[in-house]
């Protein structure tokens, strides 16, 4: 009996050692690591992000690579799980020995690996929204998407312009939603806005009328929904169902065609802040971002379906990285980090980036466009 156990255990350990493969040290490629939420609840972020990275890296390699070296993408799918993200960062650094990291898709996965990034001293550009990622600034950590605070500010500014002072807030239970809610609550008073209702829902909930009924009974003049995925579409439909006539604001979390498609007619009149890429077609020809957004859009849509602002973040992150590599003339991590930090006047799909030692994002508030959905199409509000 006992010896049987012993035999089994030794077999187990044997299996373990077989799995431990020898590690390859490659000097003639540049290794970019990434960990994205390609499956799971945040897959609408990770999926276009990964596609974008793969597409452009393939393209670059065909064109001869960077500094004469091929680029290799090492990617792992976190499914949005921070525990997995931590594992993958270690795997990227220790096993795959990547030079720079792009990811993760969500704030949760990014924040989870932040201590490790600091420890491993490897530059990383996050594709997640939370302001906590860059505030306070961490030496090795950058991000490209607009923050939730910028979104809240953009929305509140518009509300103020329209004379709203009482606003109902409804948000999901995920990291993006909660963080957006926190920022909104903190910012409101600055715009003379009072939050008169503060409701939440589960991201997999199928009905939010109970929460919205309460909002209907409040004296709110507008509704702001911070959320992503399918829930904001349900909220939009539920608002219409309840006959609530208040103006609806959404966050940049729903800046995709899918939202309009799911919400149908109910989406008309909804306003939200979004990156220029979402309305690339509508941009004025003299808009500084017109060229870059149209180029990305054409590229992406030639190969995949509808473009989204999330894939654009990956595009920006990749371009900033490549520029920095060229500038640093290699992949020395310290030099690379400094080069990223010195990104100036990079016109990207998400806006114009001007990074510095205490701004690891480099976007200004005006890089958000305020959009309104009119007849199922985006329109820029001026």
């Amino acid at each position: 009996m006992r010896s049987k156990i012993a035999t089994l255990l030794s077999i187990t350990s044997l299996c373990c050692s077989i799995m431990i493969s020898s590690q390859v040290y490659a000097g003639d490629t540049i290794k970019i690591g990434s960990f994205l939420a390609v499956t799971g609840g945040a897959s609408f972020l990770g999926d276009p992000e990964l596609k974008t990275l793969q597409m452009y890296i393939d393209k670059l390699n065909k064109e001869g690579g960077v500094l004469g070296k091929k680029i290799e993408l090492v990617h792992y799918d976190t499914g949005g799980n921070p525990k997995k993200a931590v594992n993958f960062i270690k795997r990227l650094v220790k096993k795959d020995r990547v030079d720079v990291i792009i990811g993760g898709s969500t704030s949760g996965t990014t924040l989870a690996v932040a201590p490790l990034v600091k420890k491993f001293k490897i530059p990383m550009i996050s594709l997640a929204g939370s302001i906590k990622i860059v505030e306070p600034t961490q030496k090795w950590l950058f991000k490209v998407p607009h923050t939730d605070r910028m979104a809240a500010a953009k929305v509140f500014a518009d509300m103020q312009k329209r004379g709203f002072t009482k606003v109902a807030l409804i948000s999901g239970s995920g990291g993006f939603d909660k963080s957006g809610r926190t920022q909104s609550l903190a910012l409101a008073s600055k715009y003379n806005i009072q939050i008169v209702a503060d409701e939440s829902y589960g991201n997999k909930d199928t009905d939010m009328t109970a929460q919205l009924t309460k909002i209907r009974a409040s004296d709110a003049q507008a509704i702001l929904n911070f959320g992503f995925g399918k829930a904001p579409a349900i909220v939009t439909k539920n608002i219409k169902q309840l006959g609530i006539k208040l103006p609806i604001y959404q966050s940049h979390g729903v800046a995709s065609k899918k939202y309009i498609e799911l919400s149908g007619d109910a989406a008309n009149g909804v306003r939200l802040p979004a990156a220029a890429i979402v309305v690339a077609n509508e941009l004025a020809d003299n808009d500084i971002q017109k060229k870059v957004t149209m180029a990305y859009k054409t590229q992406y849509e030639a190969k995949y379906d509808q473009v989204s602002s999330f894939g654009a973040h990956a595009y920006d992150a990749l371009m900033i990285t490549l520029k920095a590599i060229k500038q640093a003339k290699g992949v020395d991590k310290k030099a690379l980090r400094t080069a990223i930090e010195r990104t100036q006047n990079y016109v990207g799909a998400g806006g114009i980036f001007n990074m510095s030692a205490d701004d690891h994002m480099g976007l200004k508030e005006d890089s958000f466009k305020l959009l309104e959905i009119v007849d199922g199409r985006w329109q820029i509000v001026n």
Binding site: V38, T39, G40, G41, S43, F44, D47, S173, E199, S200, Y201, G202, K204, T206, D207, T209, A210, Q211, T213, K214, A217, G229, K230, A233, I234, K237, K240, Q241, L242, G243, K258, E261, L262, G264, D265, A266
Partner: protein, 291 residues
């Protein structure tokens, strides 16, 4: 205040009807085979997703729905044939893991077929809300409630008035005696899985215009359906319906009156409390052990 409550009730009953249908699916399979099928939620998802696919392919809605039901029934048959039957006699925990494995497998398959996107169907009859005494309701909600009532009645009728239904019931209350009157118990099991899958598929088709669907939409619904079946007392079809409606209403009242963030916690806390007081659910029978 009263229109508050009415609105909460409407939303609770809509959601609750779905939980009830899923719970009913749990009950049917449990009665037939003593297995709690954690892949029940996947039936809902597969029903919804295939209906959307057929509809997108240009097939008229009603035919698309019927085809979606047929696909799901086949999945139900397959589950019985390839996962439950070969594991006959396994312990409760083992069958739980098997059905969880099946649900992961089906989710994985759905991911490959449909990708990660959300899908929706157009509402069956427009989206113009209907006003009732200060509360509003969507036509699709009425569809959900109406068809749920119809389905539940049909299922109850099936078990009460058809020979086949009675034969399935006979199997669930006494396998040996059922065999002795000439009922093929294996066939009844297969039928039960098919029936349960069909119910799930219909539930999926009904809600997809309201709640949308994606490859992982089955998890939450399965969980809630299981809770409904347990709350009502597993094995009792009326219990599953009562449990489902109650769960839906509890969630909606909890969100409305106490806290929307904690509404699931409130619902589960009440389920726990009910179980502490009535260890076999609201309408379940306590089993007397024999020594």
């Amino acid at each position: 205040m009263s229109d508050y409550i009415l609105q909460f009730l409407i939303s609770g009953i809509t959601v609750g009807s779905i939980y009830a249908l899923v719970g009913l699916g749990f009950t049917i399979i449990y009665n037939a085979s003593d297995v709690v099928n954690f892949a029940q939620g996947e039936f809902v998802m597969i029903g919804a997703m295939s209906a959307v696919s057929f509809s997108i392919a240009g097939i008229p809605l009603i035919i698309a729905i019927i085809m979606a039901m047929m696909v799901t029934v086949l999945v139900g048959f397959a589950l019985n044939q390839f996962a439950i039957k070969p594991a006959k006699g396994a312990s409760v925990v083992t069958t739980i893991i098997i059905t969880i494995g099946a649900s992961i497998f089906l989710r994985g398959a759905a991911l490959l077929i449909w990708g990660k996107d959300f899908y929706s169907l157009p509402a069956f009859s427009g989206e113009q809300p209907i006003h009732i005494a200060g509360a509003t309701i969507l036509p699709q909600n009425l569809w959900v409630m109406g068809i749920s009532v119809l389905l539940v009645s049909a299922v109850l009728w099936f078990f009460k008035y058809t020979l086949l239904g009675k034969a399935i019931l006979a199997c669930s209350c006494n396998h040996t005696a059922a065999q002795m009157v000439g009922i093929n118990v294996g066939k009844m099991m297969l039928l039960s899985y098919g029936l349960s899958a069909m119910l799930g598929a219909l539930a999926g088709v009904l809600i997809v215009p309201i709640t949308f669907s994606s490859y992982d939409a089955g998890i939450m619904l399965g969980l809630k359906g299981f809770s409904a079946a347990i709350l009502g007392g597993i094995g009792n079809p009326i219990g599953a319906i009562v449990g489902g409606l109650l769960l839906g209403i509890l969630e909606s009242l909890g969100a409305g009156f106490i806290s929307s963030g904690y509404k699931d916690a409130i619902a589960f806390a009440i389920i726990l409390f009910v179980l502490f007081v009535r260890p076999s659910g609201l309408l379940g029978h306590e089993h007397q052990e024999r020594v």
